[in-house]
Symmetry: C2
Subunit: 201 residues, 2 copies
Protein backbone atom coordinates (compact mmCIF):
# COMPACT_ATOMS: atom_id res chain seq x y z
CA UNK A 1 0.00 0.00 0.00
CA UNK A 2 2.78 2.41 0.93
CA UNK A 3 4.75 1.64 -2.26
CA UNK A 4 1.60 2.31 -4.31
CA UNK A 5 0.96 5.61 -2.54
CA UNK A 6 4.63 6.66 -2.86
CA UNK A 7 4.42 6.07 -6.63
CA UNK A 8 1.17 8.04 -6.88
CA UNK A 9 2.63 10.97 -4.94
CA UNK A 10 5.79 10.92 -7.08
CA UNK A 11 3.59 11.25 -10.18
CA UNK A 12 1.55 14.07 -8.60
CA UNK A 13 4.74 15.93 -7.65
CA UNK A 14 6.07 15.59 -11.20
CA UNK A 15 2.75 16.92 -12.56
CA UNK A 16 3.41 20.21 -10.75
CA UNK A 17 5.78 21.06 -13.62
CA UNK A 18 2.84 21.56 -16.01
CA UNK A 19 2.33 24.91 -14.25
CA UNK A 20 5.62 26.11 -15.76
CA UNK A 21 4.82 25.14 -19.37
CA UNK A 22 3.81 28.32 -21.19
CA UNK A 23 1.38 28.38 -24.09
CA UNK A 24 1.30 30.98 -26.85
CA UNK A 25 -2.09 32.23 -25.66
CA UNK A 26 -2.57 34.99 -23.10
CA UNK A 27 -5.00 35.49 -20.23
CA UNK A 28 -8.11 37.44 -21.16
CA UNK A 29 -6.77 40.47 -19.24
CA UNK A 30 -3.64 40.31 -21.42
CA UNK A 31 -1.36 40.37 -18.36
CA UNK A 32 0.72 37.30 -19.18
CA UNK A 33 0.90 34.07 -21.14
CA UNK A 34 -1.21 31.19 -19.97
CA UNK A 35 0.29 27.95 -18.65
CA UNK A 36 -0.89 24.48 -19.57
CA UNK A 37 -2.13 23.57 -16.06
CA UNK A 38 -4.52 26.51 -15.73
CA UNK A 39 -5.54 26.02 -19.39
CA UNK A 40 -6.42 22.40 -18.56
CA UNK A 41 -8.60 23.55 -15.67
CA UNK A 42 -10.33 26.12 -17.86
CA UNK A 43 -11.19 23.75 -20.68
CA UNK A 44 -12.58 21.24 -18.20
CA UNK A 45 -14.92 24.01 -17.11
CA UNK A 46 -15.72 24.66 -20.80
CA UNK A 47 -16.53 20.97 -21.25
CA UNK A 48 -18.81 20.84 -18.22
CA UNK A 49 -20.65 24.06 -19.08
CA UNK A 50 -20.99 23.19 -22.77
CA UNK A 51 -21.90 19.54 -22.15
CA UNK A 52 -25.30 20.16 -23.73
CA UNK A 53 -23.50 20.80 -27.02
CA UNK A 54 -22.18 17.24 -27.10
CA UNK A 55 -23.90 14.43 -28.93
CA UNK A 56 -26.00 11.98 -26.84
CA UNK A 57 -23.29 9.32 -27.01
CA UNK A 58 -20.71 11.53 -25.28
CA UNK A 59 -19.97 10.68 -21.63
CA UNK A 60 -18.94 13.99 -20.18
CA UNK A 61 -17.14 12.52 -17.16
CA UNK A 62 -14.79 10.63 -19.49
CA UNK A 63 -14.25 13.86 -21.42
CA UNK A 64 -13.30 15.63 -18.17
CA UNK A 65 -10.78 12.91 -17.33
CA UNK A 66 -9.28 13.15 -20.82
CA UNK A 67 -8.91 16.91 -20.54
CA UNK A 68 -7.42 16.57 -17.05
CA UNK A 69 -4.61 14.42 -18.51
CA UNK A 70 -4.37 15.70 -22.08
CA UNK A 71 -1.47 18.15 -21.70
CA UNK A 72 0.70 16.30 -19.16
CA UNK A 73 3.09 15.23 -21.94
CA UNK A 74 4.00 18.89 -22.39
CA UNK A 75 6.08 18.61 -19.20
CA UNK A 76 8.71 16.97 -21.40
CA UNK A 77 7.62 17.94 -24.92
CA UNK A 78 6.55 21.57 -24.39
CA UNK A 79 3.54 23.19 -26.01
CA UNK A 80 3.29 23.29 -29.81
CA UNK A 81 1.45 26.52 -30.72
CA UNK A 82 -1.38 25.76 -33.11
CA UNK A 83 -0.39 28.66 -35.38
CA UNK A 84 3.38 28.10 -35.10
CA UNK A 85 5.75 26.24 -37.43
CA UNK A 86 5.87 22.79 -35.90
CA UNK A 87 7.50 19.57 -37.10
CA UNK A 88 4.48 17.41 -36.33
CA UNK A 89 6.24 14.05 -36.65
CA UNK A 90 9.05 15.12 -34.31
CA UNK A 91 6.52 16.56 -31.86
CA UNK A 92 4.43 13.39 -31.88
CA UNK A 93 7.55 11.34 -31.14
CA UNK A 94 8.48 13.62 -28.24
CA UNK A 95 4.96 13.37 -26.84
CA UNK A 96 4.98 9.58 -27.08
CA UNK A 97 8.28 9.46 -25.19
CA UNK A 98 6.86 11.85 -22.59
CA UNK A 99 3.77 9.67 -22.14
CA UNK A 100 6.02 6.61 -21.75
CA UNK A 101 8.01 8.29 -19.00
CA UNK A 102 5.28 10.15 -17.12
CA UNK A 103 2.52 7.57 -16.91
CA UNK A 104 5.10 4.92 -15.93
CA UNK A 105 5.59 6.81 -12.67
CA UNK A 106 2.15 5.54 -11.61
CA UNK A 107 1.27 2.06 -10.34
CA UNK A 108 0.80 -0.34 -13.26
CA UNK A 109 -2.99 -0.43 -13.38
CA UNK A 110 -3.25 3.37 -13.35
CA UNK A 111 -0.37 3.81 -15.80
CA UNK A 112 -2.27 1.62 -18.25
CA UNK A 113 -5.66 3.29 -17.72
CA UNK A 114 -4.31 6.84 -17.98
CA UNK A 115 -2.23 6.02 -21.03
CA UNK A 116 -5.24 4.44 -22.75
CA UNK A 117 -7.29 7.57 -22.09
CA UNK A 118 -4.54 9.84 -23.43
CA UNK A 119 -4.10 7.63 -26.52
CA UNK A 120 -7.86 7.80 -27.12
CA UNK A 121 -7.79 11.60 -26.88
CA UNK A 122 -4.84 11.84 -29.27
CA UNK A 123 -6.47 9.52 -31.82
CA UNK A 124 -9.58 11.76 -31.85
CA UNK A 125 -11.88 9.03 -33.11
CA UNK A 126 -14.33 8.14 -30.33
CA UNK A 127 -17.23 10.54 -29.62
CA UNK A 128 -15.68 11.46 -26.24
CA UNK A 129 -12.32 12.29 -27.82
CA UNK A 130 -13.89 14.23 -30.68
CA UNK A 131 -15.83 16.39 -28.22
CA UNK A 132 -12.76 16.84 -25.99
CA UNK A 133 -10.70 17.97 -28.99
CA UNK A 134 -13.36 20.45 -30.09
CA UNK A 135 -13.47 21.95 -26.59
CA UNK A 136 -9.67 22.18 -26.47
CA UNK A 137 -9.73 24.40 -29.56
CA UNK A 138 -12.35 26.78 -28.23
CA UNK A 139 -10.87 28.62 -25.28
CA UNK A 140 -8.15 30.60 -27.07
CA UNK A 141 -10.45 32.04 -29.79
CA UNK A 142 -12.94 33.16 -27.12
CA UNK A 143 -10.09 34.92 -25.29
CA UNK A 144 -8.57 36.39 -28.46
CA UNK A 145 -11.92 37.97 -29.41
CA UNK A 146 -11.78 40.11 -26.27
CA UNK A 147 -8.06 40.71 -25.83
CA UNK A 148 -7.33 42.34 -29.16
CA UNK A 149 -6.48 39.28 -31.24
CA UNK A 150 -3.83 37.66 -29.04
CA UNK A 151 -2.17 34.77 -30.87
CA UNK A 152 -3.88 35.72 -34.17
CA UNK A 153 -1.97 38.99 -34.17
CA UNK A 154 1.27 37.40 -32.91
CA UNK A 155 1.22 34.78 -35.67
CA UNK A 156 -0.51 36.89 -38.38
CA UNK A 157 -3.29 34.36 -38.73
CA UNK A 158 -6.00 34.71 -41.39
CA UNK A 159 -9.69 33.82 -41.16
CA UNK A 160 -9.13 31.02 -43.71
CA UNK A 161 -6.51 29.50 -41.45
CA UNK A 162 -8.93 29.65 -38.50
CA UNK A 163 -11.62 27.93 -40.56
CA UNK A 164 -9.11 25.14 -41.02
CA UNK A 165 -7.37 24.93 -37.64
CA UNK A 166 -10.31 25.81 -35.37
CA UNK A 167 -13.38 25.36 -37.57
CA UNK A 168 -12.78 21.75 -38.57
CA UNK A 169 -12.28 20.31 -35.06
CA UNK A 170 -14.90 22.51 -33.36
CA UNK A 171 -17.52 21.76 -36.01
CA UNK A 172 -16.81 18.06 -35.67
CA UNK A 173 -17.49 17.93 -31.93
CA UNK A 174 -19.70 20.94 -31.23
CA UNK A 175 -21.25 22.21 -34.48
CA UNK A 176 -23.64 24.71 -32.85
CA UNK A 177 -20.74 26.36 -31.06
CA UNK A 178 -18.97 26.84 -34.37
CA UNK A 179 -22.17 28.29 -35.90
CA UNK A 180 -22.15 30.82 -33.04
CA UNK A 181 -18.41 31.50 -33.11
CA UNK A 182 -17.85 31.88 -36.87
CA UNK A 183 -19.68 35.24 -37.32
CA UNK A 184 -17.78 36.68 -34.32
CA UNK A 185 -14.50 35.65 -35.94
CA UNK A 186 -15.58 37.12 -39.30
CA UNK A 187 -16.56 40.42 -37.65
CA UNK A 188 -13.25 40.56 -35.78
CA UNK A 189 -11.18 39.99 -38.90
CA UNK A 190 -13.24 42.50 -40.88
CA UNK A 191 -12.54 45.18 -38.26
CA UNK A 192 -8.88 44.12 -37.90
CA UNK A 193 -8.51 44.29 -41.72
CA UNK A 194 -10.05 47.78 -41.77
CA UNK A 195 -7.68 49.06 -39.11
CA UNK A 196 -4.70 47.49 -40.94
CA UNK A 197 -5.66 49.43 -44.08
CA UNK A 198 -6.04 52.58 -41.99
CA UNK A 199 -2.58 52.03 -40.52
CA UNK A 200 -1.17 51.78 -44.07
CA UNK A 201 -2.62 55.14 -45.11
Amino acid sequence: MTARLEAQIAFLREADKLKTVLRASRLIDGSRRENSAEHSWHIMLYALVLADQAGPEVRIDRVLRMLLLHDLVEIDAGDAPIHGQVDHAAMAAKEQAAADRLFALLPGDQAEAFRALWDEFEAAKTPDAVFAKSIDRLQTPVANLVNGGGTWTDYQVTLDQLDDRIGIPVRRGAPDVWRWLRPHLAAFFKTAGASDRQADM
Copy 2:
Protein backbone atom coordinates in the same frame (compact mmCIF):
# COMPACT_ATOMS: atom_id res chain seq x y z
CA MET B 1 -30.17 28.55 -28.06
CA THR B 2 -27.94 31.53 -28.83
CA ALA B 3 -28.94 33.34 -25.61
CA ARG B 4 -28.08 30.20 -23.64
CA LEU B 5 -24.69 29.87 -25.33
CA GLU B 6 -23.93 33.58 -24.88
CA ALA B 7 -24.61 33.24 -21.14
CA GLN B 8 -22.40 30.15 -20.93
CA ILE B 9 -19.55 31.88 -22.74
CA ALA B 10 -19.89 34.98 -20.52
CA PHE B 11 -19.47 32.72 -17.47
CA LEU B 12 -16.47 30.96 -19.02
CA ARG B 13 -14.84 34.30 -19.84
CA GLU B 14 -15.37 35.52 -16.28
CA ALA B 15 -13.83 32.28 -14.97
CA ASP B 16 -10.55 33.25 -16.66
CA LYS B 17 -9.95 35.59 -13.70
CA LEU B 18 -9.30 32.65 -11.38
CA LYS B 19 -5.87 32.45 -13.07
CA THR B 20 -4.99 35.78 -11.44
CA VAL B 21 -5.98 34.81 -7.88
CA LEU B 22 -2.77 34.00 -6.01
CA ARG B 23 -2.58 31.52 -3.17
CA ALA B 24 -0.05 31.56 -0.34
CA SER B 25 1.49 28.31 -1.59
CA ARG B 26 4.35 28.11 -4.08
CA LEU B 27 5.11 25.81 -7.00
CA ILE B 28 7.29 22.84 -6.09
CA ASP B 29 10.24 24.48 -7.90
CA GLY B 30 9.78 27.52 -5.62
CA SER B 31 9.74 29.87 -8.63
CA ARG B 32 6.48 31.69 -7.85
CA ARG B 33 3.20 31.55 -5.98
CA GLU B 34 0.53 29.27 -7.28
CA ASN B 35 -2.78 30.54 -8.63
CA SER B 36 -6.17 29.06 -7.85
CA ALA B 37 -6.89 27.85 -11.40
CA GLU B 38 -3.76 25.70 -11.72
CA HIS B 39 -4.26 24.56 -8.10
CA SER B 40 -7.77 23.42 -9.05
CA TRP B 41 -6.37 21.42 -11.95
CA HIS B 42 -3.73 19.83 -9.76
CA ILE B 43 -6.10 18.71 -7.01
CA MET B 44 -8.42 17.19 -9.59
CA LEU B 45 -5.45 15.10 -10.66
CA TYR B 46 -4.83 14.26 -6.98
CA ALA B 47 -8.46 13.15 -6.65
CA LEU B 48 -8.33 10.94 -9.74
CA VAL B 49 -4.99 9.35 -8.84
CA LEU B 50 -5.93 8.84 -5.17
CA ALA B 51 -9.48 7.66 -5.92
CA ASP B 52 -8.63 4.28 -4.41
CA GLN B 53 -8.20 6.05 -1.05
CA ALA B 54 -11.85 7.08 -1.04
CA GLY B 55 -14.57 5.09 0.66
CA PRO B 56 -16.78 2.84 -1.54
CA GLU B 57 -19.67 5.33 -1.37
CA VAL B 58 -17.62 8.14 -2.99
CA ARG B 59 -18.43 8.90 -6.63
CA ILE B 60 -15.17 10.21 -7.97
CA ASP B 61 -16.71 11.98 -10.98
CA ARG B 62 -18.85 14.11 -8.65
CA VAL B 63 -15.72 14.86 -6.62
CA LEU B 64 -13.95 16.02 -9.78
CA ARG B 65 -16.85 18.34 -10.63
CA MET B 66 -16.81 19.77 -7.11
CA LEU B 67 -13.09 20.45 -7.27
CA LEU B 68 -13.46 21.99 -10.73
CA LEU B 69 -15.86 24.57 -9.25
CA HIS B 70 -14.69 24.81 -5.65
CA ASP B 71 -12.47 27.91 -5.90
CA LEU B 72 -14.44 30.01 -8.43
CA VAL B 73 -15.76 32.23 -5.62
CA GLU B 74 -12.19 33.41 -5.06
CA ILE B 75 -12.57 35.54 -8.20
CA ASP B 76 -14.47 37.98 -5.97
CA ALA B 77 -13.49 36.88 -2.47
CA GLY B 78 -9.77 36.12 -2.91
CA ASP B 79 -7.96 33.19 -1.35
CA ALA B 80 -7.95 32.85 2.45
CA PRO B 81 -4.60 31.26 3.40
CA ILE B 82 -5.20 28.30 5.71
CA HIS B 83 -2.44 29.45 8.08
CA GLY B 84 -3.29 33.17 7.87
CA GLN B 85 -5.36 35.34 10.20
CA VAL B 86 -8.78 35.24 8.59
CA ASP B 87 -12.15 36.58 9.76
CA HIS B 88 -14.02 33.40 8.86
CA ALA B 89 -17.53 34.89 9.13
CA ALA B 90 -16.63 37.84 6.89
CA MET B 91 -14.93 35.49 4.42
CA ALA B 92 -17.93 33.16 4.30
CA ALA B 93 -20.22 36.13 3.59
CA LYS B 94 -17.93 37.30 0.77
CA GLU B 95 -17.87 33.82 -0.73
CA GLN B 96 -21.65 33.53 -0.58
CA ALA B 97 -21.99 36.85 -2.40
CA ALA B 98 -19.44 35.70 -4.97
CA ALA B 99 -21.36 32.47 -5.55
CA ASP B 100 -24.58 34.48 -5.97
CA ARG B 101 -22.98 36.67 -8.62
CA LEU B 102 -20.87 34.14 -10.51
CA PHE B 103 -23.22 31.19 -10.86
CA ALA B 104 -26.04 33.57 -11.85
CA LEU B 105 -24.11 34.30 -15.06
CA LEU B 106 -25.08 30.81 -16.23
CA PRO B 107 -28.45 29.68 -17.64
CA GLY B 108 -30.89 28.95 -14.77
CA ASP B 109 -30.65 25.14 -14.76
CA GLN B 110 -26.86 25.20 -14.69
CA ALA B 111 -26.70 28.03 -12.15
CA GLU B 112 -28.79 25.90 -9.81
CA ALA B 113 -26.86 22.67 -10.38
CA PHE B 114 -23.43 24.28 -10.00
CA ARG B 115 -24.48 26.21 -6.91
CA ALA B 116 -25.85 23.04 -5.31
CA LEU B 117 -22.55 21.27 -5.94
CA TRP B 118 -20.55 24.16 -4.46
CA ASP B 119 -22.86 24.33 -1.42
CA GLU B 120 -22.41 20.59 -0.92
CA PHE B 121 -18.62 20.97 -1.05
CA GLU B 122 -18.68 23.84 1.43
CA ALA B 123 -20.93 21.97 3.86
CA ALA B 124 -18.44 19.05 3.87
CA LYS B 125 -21.01 16.52 5.01
CA THR B 126 -21.63 14.08 2.14
CA PRO B 127 -18.99 11.39 1.42
CA ASP B 128 -18.13 13.11 -1.90
CA ALA B 129 -17.60 16.49 -0.20
CA VAL B 130 -15.61 14.99 2.68
CA PHE B 131 -13.25 13.29 0.21
CA ALA B 132 -12.99 16.45 -1.92
CA LYS B 133 -12.10 18.52 1.15
CA SER B 134 -9.44 16.02 2.25
CA ILE B 135 -7.85 16.12 -1.20
CA ASP B 136 -7.94 19.94 -1.24
CA ARG B 137 -5.77 19.97 1.92
CA LEU B 138 -3.17 17.57 0.58
CA GLN B 139 -1.39 19.28 -2.28
CA THR B 140 0.33 22.09 -0.38
CA PRO B 141 1.86 19.86 2.33
CA VAL B 142 3.25 17.54 -0.37
CA ALA B 143 4.81 20.58 -2.08
CA ASN B 144 6.09 22.12 1.17
CA LEU B 145 7.90 18.89 2.07
CA VAL B 146 10.11 19.27 -1.01
CA ASN B 147 10.41 23.04 -1.34
CA GLY B 148 11.89 23.81 2.06
CA GLY B 149 8.72 24.36 4.06
CA GLY B 150 6.95 26.92 1.89
CA THR B 151 3.89 28.29 3.68
CA TRP B 152 4.89 26.58 6.96
CA THR B 153 8.00 28.74 7.09
CA ASP B 154 6.17 31.87 5.88
CA TYR B 155 3.50 31.54 8.56
CA GLN B 156 5.69 29.91 11.28
CA VAL B 157 3.37 26.94 11.49
CA THR B 158 3.88 24.20 14.09
CA LEU B 159 3.31 20.45 13.77
CA ASP B 160 0.42 20.72 16.24
CA GLN B 161 -1.27 23.28 14.00
CA LEU B 162 -0.84 20.96 11.00
CA ASP B 163 -2.39 18.08 12.94
CA ASP B 164 -5.39 20.33 13.41
CA ARG B 165 -5.66 22.15 10.06
CA ILE B 166 -4.50 19.34 7.73
CA GLY B 167 -4.73 16.21 9.86
CA ILE B 168 -8.40 16.49 10.76
CA PRO B 169 -9.80 16.97 7.23
CA VAL B 170 -7.34 14.57 5.53
CA ARG B 171 -7.95 11.83 8.11
CA ARG B 172 -11.67 12.24 7.68
CA GLY B 173 -11.67 11.67 3.91
CA ALA B 174 -8.47 9.73 3.24
CA PRO B 175 -7.17 8.18 6.48
CA ASP B 176 -4.46 6.05 4.87
CA VAL B 177 -3.00 9.12 3.19
CA TRP B 178 -2.74 10.83 6.57
CA ARG B 179 -1.07 7.72 8.04
CA TRP B 180 1.51 8.01 5.26
CA LEU B 181 1.89 11.81 5.45
CA ARG B 182 2.13 12.29 9.22
CA PRO B 183 5.62 10.72 9.72
CA HIS B 184 6.96 12.82 6.81
CA LEU B 185 5.64 15.96 8.50
CA ALA B 186 7.10 14.91 11.84
CA ALA B 187 10.51 14.25 10.26
CA PHE B 188 10.44 17.59 8.47
CA PHE B 189 9.62 19.55 11.63
CA LYS B 190 12.26 17.66 13.63
CA THR B 191 14.93 18.64 11.09
CA ALA B 192 13.58 22.20 10.77
CA GLY B 193 13.64 22.52 14.57
CA ALA B 194 17.22 21.29 14.67
CA SER B 195 18.35 23.81 12.06
CA ASP B 196 16.49 26.62 13.91
CA ARG B 197 18.44 25.77 17.03
CA GLN B 198 21.63 25.71 14.99
CA ALA B 199 20.79 29.16 13.57
CA ASP B 200 20.35 30.45 17.13
CA MET B 201 23.80 29.28 18.19
